[in-house]
Symmetry: C2
Subunit: 336 residues, 2 copies
């Protein structure tokens, strides 16, 4: 590997001068700078991030904490879109991203230790169990953090508007004449709470009753659990005419159950999903859903994190809401 020393030897200047030339300091004469730059290019010089980091304490590396065991991982379409967006925004700003696990080498440690080990300038956290002690430890540490879809008061968070999404999906059903609207939601997280709240508010605002059996819990991204919940819903003495599902993917379980009973979508049951990333649009009929702006979610998270990293004193924690929008597919029909 060619180093600054090689360049300094060849150019007949000191390493300090080379470093300054390379970094565009202005106490280097144009001729020297030119010579150094030229030589660096000829030798195909690449700086050494580790050495640089050691001196500057800046790794230009952002940690990504995106899963823990209980969650569905990188293969979740919604999160893979966010990850993609995080990656692109980070790269556009000169940062790399590294996944944070809770081991170093083969030793078990904590997420925080891992961040320190890799000297991450900051961390984006999403799709984890935010009650997890290791996650809390990381959030409370001095490592800059931004969370997605969850909020702590000492860190910026970027949130999709779950309450509104749910409210609008419910209202959409109501606008189509439905009055018996059920909600199969995911596990009990903050996101879920907001969605339930949005659903309930929409019902209330329109003077509609919500029988407790119209709210039922399943598991996000889990087709089987949703299928079971759907079955239970349809078995009710007074079944709903419309069902809101936890997410587009899991909806497929509900769909299977509905179709198997010889019922028709949306003829007999109107349905909607949540996420709107991709699947909804290629299904036939297209699934009405709440389209989350994953692109903005990832991008803003990274922007806020970098702001926090580069302006540690002025950047203050923000609570940011990213608007989604209703995707009107073909699964909601006027109820008559």
């Amino acid at each position: 590997m060619v180093t600054i020393k090689d360049i300094s030897r060849i150019c007949g200047v000191s390493p300090a001068t080379v470093s300054k030339a390379l970094n565009g300091y202005d106490d280097i004469s144009p001729e020297t700078a030119e010579l150094v730059l030229q030589t660096a290019k000829e030798l195909n010089y690449t700086p050494n991030a580790a050495a640089r980091l050691l001196k500057t304490n800046r790794s230009h590396n952002i940690g990504v904490l995106f899963i823990d065991d209980s969650m569905s991982g990188l293969t979740h379409e919604y999160f893979s879109h966010i990850l993609n967006s995080v990656k692109e925004e980070a790269e556009a700003n000169g940062y790399d991203i590294t996944f944070i696990s809770n081991n170093i080498g083969k030793e078990k440690t904590s997420f925080l230790q891992h961040c320190r080990y890799r000297n991450c300038d900051g961390v984006v956290i999403a799709n984890v169990d935010f009650q997890n002690t290791e996650v809390l430890e990381l959030v409370k540490s001095n490592v800059p953090v931004v969370t997605i879809d969850y909020s702590f008061d000492n860190a910026s968070s970027v949130n999709s508007d779950n309450e509104e999404g749910s409210y609008k999906l419910t209202s959409n059903m109501i606008a189509h004449g439905h009055r018996k609207i059920a909600f199969i939601h995911g596990e009990h997280t903050l996101v879920t709470q907001k969605r339930i709240s949005g659903y309930k508010t929409a019902m209330e605002d329109h003077g509609l009753e919500v029988p407790p059996e119209y709210i039922s819990e399943a598991i996000y991204h889990d087709v089987d659990s949703v299928r079971k919940a759907t079955a239970a819903m349809l078995d009710l003495p007074d079944p709903p005419t419309a069902i809101l599902f936890p997410d587009d993917y899991a909806f497929m379980g509900g769909q299977a159950e509905i179709l198997e009973r010889g019922l028709n979508i949306p003829g007999d049951v109107s349905v909607s999903g949540y996420d709107g990333v991709n699947l909804a649009k290629i299904l036939d009929p297209k699934l009405t859903t709440w389209e989350q702006d994953t692109d903005a979610l990832g991008r803003i998270a990274v922007d806020k994190l970098i702001d926090r990293i580069e302006n540690p004193r002025t950047a203050i924690p923000e609570y940011i809401v990213v608007k989604g929008k209703l995707f009107e597919g073909e699964t909601v029909k006027q109820f008559s």
Copy 2:
């Protein structure tokens, strides 16, 4: 941050001794070692990867090159599964993973430079344009590389058996009595070539003709292009009774076209996809497809890479084939 020096001061031994104790060298007395370890734990010591790397020249960091602009990115279900598997296997072996882009800071450079900059011990390459000069530069460099679904002769590669997959899917159609079988394939890559070859061989082996118009090109993961190709296929004077699609996801475009024409799957047209990661199994009817073992693909790629990294002299390039298996869904019907 607490460093080795802090520990050495507190324990009254030299930094050298601390380092050795921490790394389990055997020229340290049990008592000293114990003292050091204990103190390190108390102070919550975390080693500094950068400093370590600088001396040892090992980053324990694996680069992942998974996309370039022309490809569909991390959001491709097949690759997100592979990525997940790569990540887990790497972590299990004490490596972290970092995405490789072709810029450092905000300067445009090459993938290779980026790898050097971050001192990646090795790189896993998948889902890129393998003809790209930057990719070639990386593959030809001294950075250990493993490729997925493409093979260079100086690097190990892990390949799904595209020829066999295609052969079996075709044979499956034939076994169900189909004789007019069309293949809508993806862009012209090595993977595609193999699949076409498998398809043709299967047809030949069973004494079946392949009219040129039964082979048509679309774009992987692109619903619209597949829909168009399907339309063209169905418009043929003598349309096929069975169609093989490029992948499960893109199949959705074909499905839409078929259904819109009032045709039934599999009543009127039998179909199969490719990948078998997730979607196929939640569709209704379930999509017959070739199930690739993404888990093994990622895992083996990482294992081979680490082998190459840790045993540079003995590890030789291997061409590894990972078997897939037929997933028999409900979209292939006996043709009468």
